[in-house]
Amino acid sequence: MTDFLTVSLGFILAMLALGLIRVLRGPGEADRMMAAQLIGTGGIAALLLLGSVADLAAAIDVALTLALLATFASIAFVKKGLSRLGAESSEAREGGSVWRSTF
């Protein structure tokens, strides 16, 4: 059983390596962001498997933390992507800058 889990861990790591290709190549920013998201989720699965193989109960806590914070980079990506479009109009306002988003 441990051998099988180790092999599947290696398989997931190979998937992460393939995802890295998209991070390196990805023609657009959204593609890089999506590949990073996939690597994050694959990392969560790898951590769950690693915790089972190495008998580390605390590895699930690390996976829990990663799962909680998985959205943050993407939120920052879409919000900051707007700042270029919104910056021109927002700095013209007097009360201070505003980031308005449609979602």
Partner: protein
Amino acid sequence: MTFALALHIALAGMMLGLAAWTIAARETFAAVVGFVVYGLFLALVWVRLDAVDVALAEAAIGGGLNGVLLLGAAARLRATETPADAERPRAGLRLLAALLSATVAAALAAAVLQLPEPAPTLAPAAAANAAATGLANPVTNVLMGFRAMDTMLEKVVLLLAVVGVWSLAPDHFWGGRPGARHEADPQGTLAFLARVLTPFGIVVGIYLAWTGASHPGGAFQGATILAAMWLLIMMAGLADAPPTNARRLRLMLIAGPGVFLLVGLGGLAFGEAFLAYPAAYAKPLILAIEAAMVLTLAITLALLVAGPPERGAAP
């Protein structure tokens, strides 16, 4: 060559390749994404090396706060990328920098490889005295018991960092609210996420801080998650950033190092030395300090990411 060894070599190779690409990438945004992914791999490596406390800190900071901070910086720098590209140093200078970095790395590797076998370490002494504080997690023992002075000074350094970030504000905005005001569709995706995720995140954050006494975790990791949840609420527009001249905010910022200092002085008055815990009260004192630290750290980290004040204090 067992399968596990091959996995380790593959993981190390991937990380080194990714690091090299991150440094060489032309676009700031691409380099930032590479760095965030690098942090994820690093968390995996820490777990593999049995350092779960460090892995928790790496996952929390690298996966959450670092991404927000660096992506914000990359967006601000977007306008300056073309002129900055034109100012790249000549190839000769870059080669010199690469040689210097490689020399430092080689010196470090030589120092590590030449350590005597077994390497000198205080770990057995720390493990033998673990009963002194009554906590089961050896990392927390070192952080809060044997090396408490360093931990207290780190909290003061974080406070100075917040003051430093605030000092970047233009004079007329001093004391104002940090960052731009976020507005999002209250029926939209972001607001939904903030409403559903935040209560859960708060529970997990407090759980991580609480369980640090006996399992991997601790005040820092829990506080990072709490800070991330507050940032999420601010980014979804459900609450505005507080004005930096608010008295309650400033009181909470100094609560952590303040309690630490008080306990330390109490050690001077009632015990043998500064930061000496009386044996019977060691565990409750440490837990009290950690509670104050979680509050302060959460606010500090969130304010560091939110940035210097960019608007007035009025809502």
